[in-house]
Every structure is written in structure tokens, then in C-alpha cells.
């Protein structure tokens, strides 16, 4: 019997009601008496020297209250990178300053060099048009290879366009080279991991408010992590004391990574609010989002796989150029390195891995973590080269993977890329995938497709990712400048209901429903009596927010620890009320009882007693019932999966249609299977989007050609199938209290290579010797590949 509530129940989401009735409150929905509007003047050239900015005409326009330029922020700090990467030679990465507004130079189309504050947004827009900026256009640096060879720079002061040249694991380099040199067979593949725009449906929005009476600031903003945003603004950029700045992220309409980062617009509205004594609001339009939200992926990689006669993997070696854009966004240096290189052993017992990543500055928008963040890039390289190798050595691609899988008796397993996998069973996932995907029926379906004149292909993938980001001790050694714990406060109110304040932020993940399932189960009470508070730094403990599939594995663990403390204290109170010893108190179904007796008190009675502590043993028990826990994970978690995809390719047009998509994942224990399945669906949609339709295109002058939904193809409902999703074969994480691994990114990690492998299989079945097509596999690319084969 499925459960109705608690851990494992597919409870429908309580937050849905407000969203379905139009009562959600997103940042742009907030309207304050007397608010004014900010609009930014943005560069129309990719690279340019700011010679002068004349704001006098704009300042005289109706409704204009203030104009800011880069000069106004020359003395404040830069927006920093959160992770220090050292190059192979030991030198630290280059970290050019990322100012609030461009100063001296503009470095990508959309780079803001001025901002107008006016009574209305229309007035501010009109005034922006009247700013006279003399910007001398310089040659744009767009292509990464050209950037590395260029003698002019995105940042003149560092004298190179290379941010770092990173090797992982450097001590394995010589041995890897040797293994590849001497191998029986080496498969080589050059591929592009296409640049994507995250495209959360809610554009970014920030509202600054300043109270001169108390010298306090409030920032409402579209953030996945309000405390991190506050820390960056306070400690690095503006110097506003943390205790004078409240950051509130209310309902947020999707993030996918793009709302992790602090952006200059947030600092601007705060500075403007203080200067004017008015509430200042900025809302991005969609083209601003395309131009300025941190983009994702954008790797160019050469990967080599060395095999012995039997098909055993001997080594993986990769060379990657990773685009970081014009400025270092907050996690941009971690994404292509420690979130990518460390996964480059995949699910395999391969003994040697060497990864080289050159990060490159270009005159394009910053690139940072986007759903999966480094792990999709690793999985794509591995799972494409393995498929190619299987074809070259004449082995079934599933058999080749199985031959090299880490086996269930090998855990904990030290991967050749430096991580310790705690649990998994990749063969069992592959078995389950073959079953639920009806692999046995594929040949019959292929015949049916052939009868329609279509080529059907079957593609597979096995992935592993590192989630539950992240153990602070480990990442600190690796260069992280932040800790990656999370925190929760469980407050039992006097009348017995609960408020649970969490550091994680829900922007679609369903925390308001799922976290109460955990607490309700532990306390034996109705989850409906438990509410989650999130997104407001003045209400919640210092947490690091939501990304990297971390909410449940890290913040959920903090919730468990805080609830355990509540239970311990409640037992003491119950023992006092029942005149028994703490050790004899049992909690079951929300009732505290003395073991072996019929003496009991309810959870509600204990809660009330905690706040009306008459006759309380104050030397032993404090009044109140509220506990906080911080949780720092001992290791990453390691979700894994086996995916397959069946496509139909029209040989006349090159059109690809995904007919069947199956995802079998090991997420460990599952709290709410409905929510988990939904997370996988979303990831699959984005992954298939990357594989088939999405692409970010800059021309040679650095103009973004795909800057609206007219030009950037978002996957629509009719591009996608119903998915088959299975997470019944979970192996619990061994090091967190819920045994959970994280499910938010899996779909986007596992699906792109699966789709590409399926298309290659389809073309090969039609006698076309096509071994690789770069994503997105548009009709034109597929047709061209077929006709050039």
C-alpha cells in the first residue's frame, strides 16, 4: 500500500494551490508605494573602450531621478569567483575584477555601463536612449581557439585570454599518456558541448529598499540562495554589513543555476535605493536575460579512450577548452574543473584518467553552472566515446559498459578521477532499463519504422554524478572559498504546530511539501501541521541554498538533525511530565509514553508545556522547543542511472523525433516519488532540448544571434514524448541520515548522449557511416552528415 503521508508518499504539493490560482508572489509581483524603476544602458558591441558617457541629456528627461555609470562604483569591490583554481604549473588563475557597471571597457554585448532611475520604467527606458556613450569598438574575441592565440585581450591587465590551464590528476598524466600510447585500441572523438541559455521562465528581477532611520537595506531578488547573495554583496561588493542587509527571494520562477549567482543589478538597486531614499525596482526583459544571465556548457573537447584486446578500459584522456565568457561568474571556475574532471571515470573501473581544461575568456556573456554543471559535460564526453569505441571494436555498447562497470562488491570505490563512490549497482540499473524500456521489442519497432520509411535508432547511456554539494573539508582543499553545508531550525510552536526554517530555497522543487513529510514522519504527526519557511535571510539560519541537487541530501539532513534534537528535548519534557526517566520515554505516532506502562502525553501537550513551563526543572531543561542544526556532508552523493532513447530519423529531411525515452535512476531513498519523477521529467526535457534544438550562437563580431524566443529554440510540448521513469532500484546513500542522493539534475546529465547515441545508431542502421554529429542535431546537421557520409 502506498503511504498517504510521510516518507515515501506521493503527496500532492501544497504550494500548487497558490500557483494555480494566480496567488504566487514572484519578485516582480511586489509593488511598493512610491517605487521607481531602474533600466540599464547595455553595450551593443562585444568589445569596446568607453571613451566618454554623456548623461546630461538623459538626466534632463521627464521623470529621471538619477543616473549611475561605472565611475560611481569604481571604488567598490568586484563580484568574485567562489573557487580558486591553480594551473598545472601551480600559478593561480587570473581573476579580473567584475564591476557593478562596466568601467573603462565593455566586454560583451549586454554588458551594462550605465543605469537610469526614473519614476516609471517607460521614462527610464526613454532616458537610456538619450545617454550618449562614445564607445570605441575593438575586435571581438569570440572563438576560444582564436582567443588563446590572440595578442589582444578581454582583460588587458592580465595579458592573456587564458584564465587557467588545469590538469587532473596531474600525477597521472605521464602514466595516462603511456597507457594510451601502448594500448591495443584507442578511440578518439572531438566534440562540442553546445552553449545553452538556462531560460528560467521568470526573468531576473531585483528590488532595493533602504531605511535611512535604521540604515538597513532590503533586497528582494530572484535568487536560489539568498544568504550567498547577501554574503557576496556584504563581504565583497558593497561592504554593507550583513546585519544591515536582508535578502529575500520570494517565489522564484525557476533557476536551473542561473539564479545562484550575484549579479550587478542587485548591487545597483541597493545603491540607488540609498541614494534616492526610494524603493528601486529592475525587471529584466527576455532579451536582457539572454544577454546577461550566466550561460551554460560551451566546452570543446577531444577525448581518447584506450582499451585492451578484451575491451577493458585502460585510460581516458581529455583536452577541453571551457568558455568562461567575459567575467568570472561565481561558480564558473568550479564547473569545468572539480564538477567535471572528477567525474571523468564515469561508472567504470578504468585505472587512469587525465583531464586537461583550459578556461578561456571571450567577449561573450559569463558562463557558469547550468542544470548538471560540469557533470553533463563529463557524461557526454565519456558516453559518446564509449559508444564510438563499441562500434569500432565490434562489441555491443551495453556489453562494453557492463564489462567495465564498478561492481556492487567494490564499494566504497575509489575512482581514478579522485572521488570515493559510496554505493551503487550499475548492472542492476541497466537490467531494469532493458526491462522497462522493452529493449526486447526494439527490433520489431525498428521494422515498423522502416515500413514508414524512417530509421529507428537505440541509444544507451550510463551516468554517475556527484551531488549533495558539498563536503566543506574536501572542497576547501580543492580551492572552494565557501563552505557548502546547510542549516535548518525546527520551531515547535506552543500550540503544537511547527515552523521549519531552511537554508535551501524552493523554486519548483516542492520543498514546502517534501520537508514536512520528513519531519512529520520523524515526529509521528500530520505533515499538514508543519510549514516550511525559506528564502528570507531575516527568518532562516545561514544556509547555502539550492543547486547541485543538494536540498534534501544536505539541507534535508540538517532538518533531520534538528528534528532529532527536538525529539531529545521533547523526551526530557515528557519524562518530567510523566515523572519517569528520559531513557524510558518512547515516541510513536506523535505520543510520548513510558516504556512498558500506559502512561503517555501527546506531542501537543509536550509542546504546550515547553512554553508554559510551570513546575519546570529549569536546571535541567530550558523553556521552549526550538532547535537548529548545521549539516556538512561527509562526502558527495553519487546518483547514477541507465538511460535509453529510441529515435526515428527521416532520411529525406534529417528530422529527428524522440519516440521513447527511458530513465532508470538510483537516487537512494525517495521521499516523494511524484516530486522525484517530476524532477527527472524536467531534466529530460532540457537534455533532449540540448541534444536536438537548443543552441546559443554568437557571430564573429560577438553579436548574440539567439537572443529571443524567435531565435533560440526552446523545446515545446510537441518536441517531446511521454517519458518512462523508474527509480525503484535505489541503493541508499551510506553517509547521510535519509540515505538520499539527489535527483534534480540527473535527467539533464543522462539524456544528451543517449539521444545522440540513438541518432548515430539510426543512421548506421541505414548504412550511413556517420560516427558523430554535434548537438543540437538539427535537421540540417543530420541531413548534411548523412549526405556527406
Amino acid at each position: 500500500m502506498p503511504k498517504d503521508t510521510g516518507i515515501g508518499a506521493a503527496t500532492t504539493r501544497r504550494e500548487d494551490v497558490r500557483f494555480l490560482t494566480g496567488r504566487g508572489q514572484y519578485t516582480d509581483d511586489i509593488q511598493t508605494q512610491g517605487e521607481c524603476a531602474a533600466v540599464f544602458a547595455r553595450s551593443t558591441v562585444a568589445n569596446g573602450k568607453i571613451k566618454s558617457i554623456d548623461t546630461s541629456a538623459a538626466a534632463a528627461m521627464p521623470g529621471v531621478l538619477a543616473i549611475f555609470t561605472g565611475e560611481d562604483f569604481a571604488e567598490v569591490g568586484g563580484n568574485p569567483a567562489g573557487w580558486l583554481i591553480n594551473s598545472r604549473d601551480g600559478t593561480p588563475m587570473h581573476e579580473p575584477k567584475r564591476p557593478v557597471l562596466a568601467h573603462g571597457k565593455v566586454r560583451h554585448v549586454g554588458d551594462a555601463y550605465a543605469a537610469v532611475i526614473a519614476e516609471t520604467v517607460q521614462q527610464a527606458r526613454d532616458a537610456v536612449e538619450a545617454i550618449e556613450a562614445d564607445i570605441e569598438e575593438l575586435p571581438a574575441i569570440v572563438n576560444m581557439k582564436d582567443a588563446l592565440a590572440a595578442d589582444h585581450y578581454v582583460h588587458d591587465e592580465i595579458g592573456t585570454n587564458q584564465c587557467f590551464d588545469w590538469g587532473w590528476i596531474e600525477d597521472n598524466r605521464a602514466a595516462t599518456d603511456e597507457a594510451i600510447k601502448n594500448a591495443h585500441h584507442v578511440t578518439t572523438l572531438e566534440l562540442v558541448n553546445n552553449r545553452l541559455v538556462p531560460n528560467a521562465m521568470e526573468p531576473r528581477c531585483s528590488i532595493g529598499h533602504y531605511n535611512p532611520g535604521t540604515d538597513e537595506y532590503i533586497l528582494h531578488t530572484t535568487s536560489q540562495n539568498p544568504h550567498l547573495t547577501r554574503l557576496l554583496i556584504s563581504a565583497f561588493v558593497m561592504g554593507i554589513p550583513e546585519n544591515k542587509l536582508t535578502v529575500i527571494a520570494p517565489d522564484v520562477g525557476g533557476g536551473f543555476g542561473s539564479k545562484i549567482y550575484h549579479y550587478g543589478e542587485e548591487a545597483l538597486v541597493l545603491a540607488a535605493a540609498k541614494k534616492l531614499g526610494r524603493t528601486v525596482k529592475w525587471t529584466a526583459d527576455r532579451t536582457e536575460a539572454f544577454l546577461t544571465d550566466a550561460h551554460g556548457r560551451d566546452h570543446v573537447t577531444k577525448i581518447e579512450l584506450a582499451l585492451d584486446e578484451e575491451g577493458n578500459f585502460l585510460a581516458f584522456r581529455t583536452e577541453t577548452m571551457a568558455n568562461v565568457g567575459a567575467y568570472l561568474s561565481n561558480f564558473s571556475t568550479a564547473t569545468p574543473t572539480f564538477l567535471h574532471g572528477t567525474l571523468m571515470a564515469g561508472n567504470y573501473t578504468v585505472p587512469l584518467v587525465y583531464v586537461n581544461v583550459k578556461a578561456v575568456f571571450t567577449n561573450t556573456a559569463p558562463v557558469d553552472a547550468y542544470r548538471g554543471a560540469g557533470r553533463p559535460e563529463a557524461t557526454y564526453s565519456l558516453e559518446r566515446v564509449i559508444d564510438k569505441a563499441a562500434r569500432e571494436i565490434g562489441m555491443d555498447p551495453i556489453e562494453l559498459r557492463r564489462k567495465n562497470f564498478v561492481k556492487p562488491d567494490q564499494y566504497p570505490f575509489a575512482s581514478a578521477a579522485g572521488l570515493e563512490y559510496d554505493s551503487g549497482n550499475y548492472d542492476a540499473l541497466m537490467d531494469q532499463m532493458e526491462k522497462v524500456a522493452d529493449k526486447a521489442g526494439f527490433e520489431a519497432r525498428r521494422k515498423e519504422s522502416k515500413a514508414k520509411g524512417l530509421l529507428r535508432g537505440f541509444g544507451v547511456n550510463a551516468y554517475i554524478e556527484a551531488c549533495g554539494i558539498a563536503p566543506s573539508n574536501l572542497v576547501g582543499v580543492l580551492g572552494s572559498r565557501v563552505g557548502l553545508y546547510d542549516a535548518a531550525t525546527v520551531r515547535v510552536n506552543a500550540t503544537g504546530n511547527l515552523s521549519v526554517m531552511v537554508g535551501a530555497h524552493s523554486h519548483g522543487q516542492g520543498h514546502e511539501t517534501v520537508f514536512p513529510q520528513v519531519v512529520g514522519e520523524m515526529l509521528g504527526i500530520d505533515p499538514q501541521s508543519i510549514d516550511i519557511v525559506h528564502g528570507d535571510t531575516s527568518k532562516i539560519p545561514f544556509g547555502m541554498g539550492t543547486y547541485g541537487s543538494r536540498s534534501l541530501a544536505v539541507c534535508g539532513s540538517a532538518v533531520v538533525r534538528a528534528t532529532e534534537k527536538i525529539i531529545n528535548k521533547a523526551k526530557k519534557i515528557a519524562a518530567h511530565m510523566l515523572e519517569a526517566s528520559d531513557a524510558d520515554i518512547e515516541l510513536k505516532d506523535g505520543v510520548f509514553s513510558v516504556a512498558g506502562t500506559d502512561k503517555s502525553v501527546s506531542f501537543g501537550e509536550v509542546a504546550l508545556k515547553a512554553y508554559i513551563p510551570h513546575n519546570f526543572p529549569l536546571e535541567d531543561i530550558e523553556p521552549g522547543l526550538e532547535e537548529t542544526a548545521f549539516y556538512d556532508p561527509a562526502n558527495f552523493t553519487y546518483p547514477s542511472g541507465a538511460y535509453c532513447c529510441e529515435v526515428e530519423v527521416d532520411p529525406e529531411t534529417g528530422k529527428v523525433r524522440v519516440d521513447r525515452m527511458t530513465a532508470v535512476d538510483d537516487f537512494g531513498n525517495v521521499i516523494n516519488p511524484m516530486v522525484v519523477t517530476g524532477q527527472v521529467h524536467g531534466g529530460l526535457g532540457q537534455g533532449i532540448g540540448q541534444a536536438l534544438v537548443e543552441n546559443t550562437t554568437y557571430d564573429e563580431d560577438g553579436q548574440l544571434l539567439s537572443a529571443s524566443y524567435m531565435d533560440y529554440t526552446m523545446p515545446r510540448a510537441d518536441d517531446l514524448p511521454f517519458y518512462i521513469v523508474d527509480h525503484s532500484k535505489g541503493n541508499p546513500c551510506t553517509h547521510n541520515p535519509l540515505g538520499v542522493k539527489g535527483c534534480g539534475e540527473a535527467g539533464a546529465i543522462g539524456s544528451p548522449p543517449t539521444v545522440v547515441n540513438a541518432v548515430i545508431d539510426a543512421l548506421q542502421s541505414g548504412g550511413k557511416n556517420v560516427t558523430h554529429i554535434d548537438m543540437p542535431m538539427t535537421s540540417h546537421r543530420v541531413w548534411s552528415a548523412m549526405n556527406n557520409a
Binding site: 500557483f19 494566480g22 516582480d28 528560467a200 517565489d251 517531446l720 511521454f722
Partner: protein, 161 residues
């Protein structure tokens, strides 16, 4: 500024607008009906879909003045009279047809318009109809399923949850 009067969710409303004021802005900023969302500038995303005289309209692609005298329904006017979720809204909740909720008002309004014209749409008809509504969270699976369920079709054969 020109005076505009219309019926919104059954109530007569009026306001002074510029010629360039979009219906979406009038609803959000003047009437404070912020359930209608703005997700793009090119009338592609569909987060702003409302009904004007019974037809689904992208309110970012219509001037407020063009709706003078019209009967407009927004997401705020969709629930049953007692405040409970209507059939389509309930199906979205039951089948997890929303995550971040931002595209949801437009999805619900589009679904309502579809079902009015086509009470039992096929999966393919639903997917085609939703071409003008973009969702980034759900991969559309549960949206399509919810609309099928709302139309009274048996969705138990479609993958679980």
C-alpha cells in the same frame, strides 16, 4: 491617457492608460492581478494567456485599449465559486503539472480554451496546441497528462506519477 473600461473576472473595472499600455501591464500593474505573468517580449512564452470574450489571447500582444468593453478572464477568475480548484486546476495539482509555477497560469488558461473547443483532445492535439506555451520545469509530461485527465480521459496507462 485614455479611459478604458472592461469586465475582468466578472467585475467591471476601468482605468486610464497610455496608448502603448499592454493588456498584460494593465492587469498586473493597474488591477494588481499579478497571476498573469510576463516571461518574454516576443509573444512566445504564453505565461500571459488570458481569455478575452472567451478566446485565449496573449495579453502581452494586445493593448489595453483594444480590450475596451471586453469580457476578460484571468487565472484569478478560474477557481470554483467556493474558492476550490476547478477541474483543470485540480488535475494540474493531482498530476504534478507544475513546478516553479511561473508558466502555470498561462498553461491553465490555454488548457481551458483547448478543452472548450475540443473536449477530448488526443495527446498529439494537446502537444500541438501548447506550442505557444513554454515550460522549462516539467518537460511537459505531466502538463499533457493533466489536461488529458481534466478532459475525463483515463491516464492510468501513462507512466506513473
Amino acid at each position: 491617457m485614455t479611459k478604458v473600461t472592461m469586465t475582468v473576472n466578472g467585475k467591471s473595472v476601468s482605468g486610464d492608460v497610455e496608448g502603448r499600455t499592454l493588456l498584460s501591464s494593465f492587469l498586473r500593474e493597474d488591477l494588481r492581478l499579478t497571476g498573469t505573468h510576463i516571461g518574454c517580449d516576443t509573444s512566445q512564452c504564453g505565461a500571459c494567456v488570458v481569455h478575452v470574450n472567451g478566446e485565449a489571447v496573449k495579453s502581452c500582444a494586445m493593448f489595453a485599449l483594444e480590450a475596451d468593453g471586453a469580457d476578460v478572464t484571468t487565472i484569478e477568475g478560474q477557481a470554483n465559486a467556493d474558492g476550490s480548484l476547478n477541474t483543470i486546476q485540480q488535475a494540474f495539482q493531482d498530476h504534478h503539472g507544475l513546478q516553479c509555477g511561473f508558466c502555470t497560469p498561462g498553461m491553465v488558461m490555454s488548457a481551458a480554451a483547448l478543452l472548450k473547443d475540443n473536449p477530448k483532445p488526443s495527446e498529439a492535439e494537446i502537444r500541438e496546441y501548447l506550442e505557444g506555451n513554454i515550460c522549462r520545469c516539467t518537460g511537459y509530461h505531466n502538463i499533457v497528462k493533466a489536461i488529458m485527465a481534466a478532459s475525463g480521459q483515463d491516464v492510468s496507462a501513462i507512466a506513473a506519477e
